[in-house]
């Protein structure tokens, strides 16, 4: 396992940010840490990136302990921060060359790697542009090119699609998948965006510093079963009781809405509308999403 986390606990003073977390990441996969902001993702990211020592527990990346051997870990990880980390006054190429120097790369080897990284992320025409003049999507791509320059085995990305428009987001996802397929790079991303999480090979759902679920997106969604039906009703309490009596299922009350997970969702929708004429404002149903999984496990929403 290229990343292994065992019983990781981290506290800021009296506040516990991570609580007894354990998981492993297989080499060559895209692994997502999904959870709401404040759920412990950033803390975990900082520990994996060797920016912070954990309070308790063991974390190893590429076979090295992040706390005891941070320099070895640093050689094998590429890090893409949520905030940007480029020098805005330098050109794209100057940023990449400076990064290469920090990793001891030079001469023809460095030049070849810079060219390769620029090509891989379709940035060749932008190499002479000052970073300040680039759009958000382009900058994120430069960040990734920069993080890949030393051929890391693990790419750590903190909320990579924050601030990107849908088009740039899709492009980014394609680039990530391509890296995994052609180079065998392991990608570990933190996210609170469902689309992005759906594209991961495996996910860990994080809530209040604890693991609530782990699996592939399909496995996680299969846990929910059937369809998710949302009924907007006049009186949630009365309706809850009536649905319990008539259908033998207990809806979850989320604000003004009753939420149900039903095996035969399509039939239920017609039946419930006929059974309570006038009491239902609107009906909606969808296949289970990761948001439903999270809601089931924690009673809280991701975004």
């Amino acid at each position: 396992m290229i990343v292994s986390v065992e019983n990781l606990t981290h506290r800021y003073g009296s506040r516990t940010a991570l609580n007894g977390l354990s998981f492993e990441v297989a080499e060559g996969s895209v692994f997502g840490l999904l959870g709401p902001n404040g759920g412990g993702k950033s803390t975990l990211f900082r520990i994996l990136a060797t920016m912070m020592s954990p309070t308790e527990g063991r974390v190893s990346v590429a076979g090295y302990d992040v706390d005891r051997d941070p320099d070895e870990v640093r050689r094998h990880i590429g890090v893409v921060f949520q905030t940007q980390s480029l020098d805005k006054k330098l050109t794209v190429e100057e940023n990449l060359r400076a990064q290469g120097h920090l990793y001891g790369l030079r001469g023809g080897n460095l030049t070849a790697r810079v060219d390769n990284a620029l090509t891989r992320l379709s940035l060749t025409e932008r190499r002479g542009d000052i970073v300040d003049t680039l759009s958000g999507g382009l900058r994120r791509r430069v960040e990734i090119a920069k993080a890949l320059l030393h051929h890391p085995r693990v790419l750590l990305m903190d909320e990579p699609s924050t601030g990107l428009d849908p088009g740039a987001r899709r492009e980014l996802a394609d680039h990530i998948a391509e890296l995994r397929d052609t180079e065998g790079v392991t990608v570990l991303i933190t996210t609170h965006i469902l689309d992005e999480a759906d594209r991961c090979d495996r996910l860990l759902l994080l809530h209040e510093g604890r693991k609530v679920a782990e699996g592939s997106p399909a496995e996680l969604k299969a846990r929910v079963g059937g369809l998710v039906v949302a009924l907007e009703v006049n009186d949630p309490d009365v309706m809850t009781r009536q649905i319990q009596e008539k259908f033998g299922v207990t809806p979850q009350v989320v604000g003004e809405t009753l939420r149900l997970e039903i095996e035969n969702g399509h039939r239920f929708v017609t039946e419930v509308v006929e059974a309570f004429p006038g009491a239902i404002q609107s009906v909606a149903f969808h296949k289970p999403t990761l948001e439903d999984v999270f809601l089931d496990e924690t009673g809280a929403t991701i975004s």
Partner: protein, 247 residues
Amino acid sequence: MKFWLPVWTLWQREMIRFWREKTRVLGFVASPLIFWLVIGSGFGDLAFFYPGALTLTVMFSAVFSTMTLIEDRKEGFLLSMLVSPAPRGAMVLGKLLGSSTLAWLQALAVLAFLPFTGLEVTAPGVAATVGVLYLISFTFTALGFLIAWNMDSAQGFHAVMNLVLFPLWMVSGALFGFSSAHGWMQWVMRINPLTYATVAIRRLLAAEVEAGTPSMTVSLAVTAACGLLLWAASTAAARRKSSGGSA
């Protein structure tokens, strides 16, 4: 891991950034010159105030050039350095060499006005001044680094500078000499590390040096010792690993 490659690249980065900010280049030279002309003309003694203006230039630009460290942190550039395997000592040295070179160049721009001061300095004297200016620049860059490393806002940095550095400069012999200072003030001047930088420059430029002024050797030794100490402290500060901070 190679040590000098990161040092070189960080030095080069400071040069490129500086060159691309043309207004910074101009402000760099203009403000100390105006200061010198105003004060010097006011007291009717351009020659006496010239060494003081020169040390003021090099000290302040050295300290202020490290303010870019706060920008580096805000803009995230510092983060990517910290997660790279480059030695922390190399990062600190690269930043110090880069920033101190810029401050030194600014001082040299002021030094170019030497022929207009009426001071008579030999060629070796000028060469030595150029060297000593770099030493002072490095020392004060290290001081700035140490302050900036622990600061997250430029405002805080300015406050420290105004409260500490400027008063220290005023009692460093730049505005009045040793003999014109009263009893306790002479002692303040002697324990003020800035005094030794000012004295070194004043002696080199053969401006009036009053009795009781520290010798050249002492001045250089104190300045160099301060520089080494601050450099070591900066490196130590950068090596400390975070165990918390804000989430």
